[in-house]
């Protein structure tokens, strides 16, 4: 079965990420991903939604090069992608600035430029004053912003995000949605954002892909701007068009989950 996963503008420069006929199983276990294909255009924001076990995190691990495909390919432009986790995973022996600087150092940025660049990146996520604070001195939302700055420090064309805001309270999550949208607009980075929160996907993404579970496949794609029509300017999660589209996608997701009840 092949589903049209949709396409975005900017095809002429080649995709930022390309997944072709990707299949993954761990050892002799069941199929996790079954013949997945996906192109992410440069600068595009794609959200993957699905129930547990749909392999969306596995897909990110494959794109990040942390896992090897069983067959098919998963490639990102530049060969390397930044990855953010649900937990900030800041290194606790380094300060906020030190975490960003380590990413810069490993990306080959010279010593002289590192400090200024790290300060700039922390400024981008509005944490100018947090340079010398250690992870345990930061709130959960601040930690995720440092993690975002660290991911941007890698200067990869693609940013992979694995439910990065799932552990945050609702107000902080809303603020970080706006922050992420702003940073994405300012940097032009491509984002592949995995979540089980449909409203989050509709609020953030240009394209939303729904995945089936066991095995993971794409079953439906939505072009969010087209679906929202003239309401696209208002992406607040509580706005009527966003809520309607979220309800549609949630309905489809429930259908998919019920399929497993038998």
């Amino acid at each position: 079965m092949s589903v049209d996963t949709g396409r975005a503008a900017g095809r002429d420069t080649g995709p930022a990420a390309r997944v072709e006929h990707l299949t993954k199983r761990f050892g002799a276990g069941p199929l996790v991903l079954d013949d997945i294909s996906l192109d992410v255009a440069p600068g595009e924001f794609v959200c993957l939604v699905g129930a547990s076990g749909c392999g969306k995190s596995t897909l990110l691990s494959l794109l990040a090069g942390l896992e090897k495909p069983t067959s098919g390919t998963a490639a990102v432009a530049g060969g390397r992608a930044a990855l953010m986790f649900q937990e900030s995973a800041l290194l606790p022996w380094l300060t906020a600035g030190g975490n960003v600087e380590l990413a810069l150092r490993l990306a080959g940025v010279g010593r002289a430029a590192r400090r200024a660049r790290a300060e700039e990146l922390l400024g981008l996520v509005r944490l100018e004053g947090a340079y010398d604070l250690r992870p345990h001195e930061l709130s959960g939302g601040m930690r995720q912003r440092v993690a975002l700055a660290r991911a941007l420090a890698q200067r990869t064309p693609v940013l992979l995000m694995d439910e990065p805001f799932a552990a945050l309270d609702a107000i902080t999550r809303d603020v970080l949605h706006d922050e992420l949208a702003r940073v994405w607009r300012e940097t032009g980075v491509s984002v592949v954002f995995v979540t089980h929160n449909v409203r989050e996907a509709v609020t953030l993404g240009q394209r939303v892909l729904l995945m089936s579970s066991r095995p993971g496949r794409f079953i439906r794609a939505w072009d969010v701007a087209a679906a929202l029509g003239s309401g696209d300017g208002d992406r607040r999660p509580e706005s009527v068009p966003v809520a309607a589209l979220a309800a549609e996608i949630t309905g489809r997701l429930r259908e998919e989950i019920r399929r497993h009840a038998a």
Binding site: I171, E179, D232
Partner: protein, 291 residues
């Protein structure tokens, strides 16, 4: 189409408000209170031991010639101090212990790193290292004497065999306890091979490693005393262990007790003044210690 920014001013102030309210409060008790809390309980415990000891003396449970009073022991220690032998013995033992410990760190650390990260070596050597750690290092003294004679080499040989396995095992368990998420972060950031070891694995393993060093010191000091106690020779000078054995030869029970106390005090002092602050500093910087 990207979502447009909403009323940015109010978002910014909302964010600043969250940043001010959310972070966990990190505060430490005042310096004086912390020192008092650290020093008073062990001091009280030491005084209680002295009191019980003195009560036993007054109860005359044992002959004074074989069971000295606190005052007898203090007099013996004072006597040694005035002759200068006590300071000399402490200095000699301490410098030997420090040198032996330093070599043990130089050998045990890379050994632990390699055994932890190379699967074949781990299967082969990890059981040997745990075995060596449970073997009392005094068992190596006869072999040391046969190989190196009554020389400092024998003493260092015994210290190394006591401390190296402990430090290597500490390194191994420190590395084993590194949360897998940090290894994933390292790989995502592009740290491979030596860079991963330097920037991720070793710093992440530091708390366990420092624990291993602390234990390594205890083993080094213990082994050194065992070696000094058994090896009497002019070539070796007079360390605390030798002074203890001198007490035995002279039937000077007060000196024997005095030396036991001196060995205990030096061992504890190094642990409290060097390794505990080191360990607590590492844990506090990571937010793993609240005080």
């Amino acid at each position: 189409m990207p979502p447009e920014p909403r009323d940015d001013g109010s978002l910014l102030s909302l964010e600043r408000g969250l940043d001010a309210l959310d972070p966990p409060a990190v505060g430490r008790r005042p310096w004086g209170r912390r020192v008092a809390a650290a020093v008073l309980p062990p001091l009280v415990a030491a005084v209680l031991v002295l009191v019980v000891w003195q009560l036993l003396i007054w109860a005359e449970v044992k002959d004074r010639a074989t069971f000295p009073s606190p005052a007898d022991v203090a007099a013996a220690l004072w006597d040694q101090w005035q002759q200068g032998t006590l300071q000399e013995a402490v200095w000699l033992s301490l410098s030997r212990g420090a040198l032996g410990f330093a070599f043990s760190v130089l050998i045990g650390t890379p050994l632990g790193l390699v055994v932890a990260r190379v699967r074949v070596l781990r299967t082969a050597l990890a059981p040997v290292l745990s075995g060596l750690q449970s073997l009392p290092s005094v068992a190596w003294v006869p072999a040391g004497i046969l190989w190196f004679g009554l020389s400092p080499a024998t003493v260092y040989f015994v210290v190394l065999l006591g401390a190296v396995p402990s430090i290597a095992n500490g390194t191994i368990s420190g590395i084993d306890q590194v949360p897998p998420i940090y290894l994933r972060v390292g790989r995502v950031l592009g740290a491979r091979g030596l860079a991963a070891a330097r920037y991720v694995i070793m710093p992440a393993a530091l708390p366990g490693y420092v624990g291993g060093l602390k234990q390594g010191w205890a083993f080094a000091w213990r082994s050194l005393m065992a070696a000094e106690l058994i090896t009497q020779s002019p070539r070796l000078g007079t360390g605390l262990g030798q002074l203890l054995d001198t007490g035995r030869q002279l039937f000077d029970v007060s000196l024997v007790f005095g030396m036991i106390i001196a060995i205990l005090v030096v061992g504890v002092a190094v642990d409290r003044l060097v390794f505990s602050p080191l360990e607590r500093g590492v844990l506090r910087r990571r937010g793993l210690l609240v005080d």
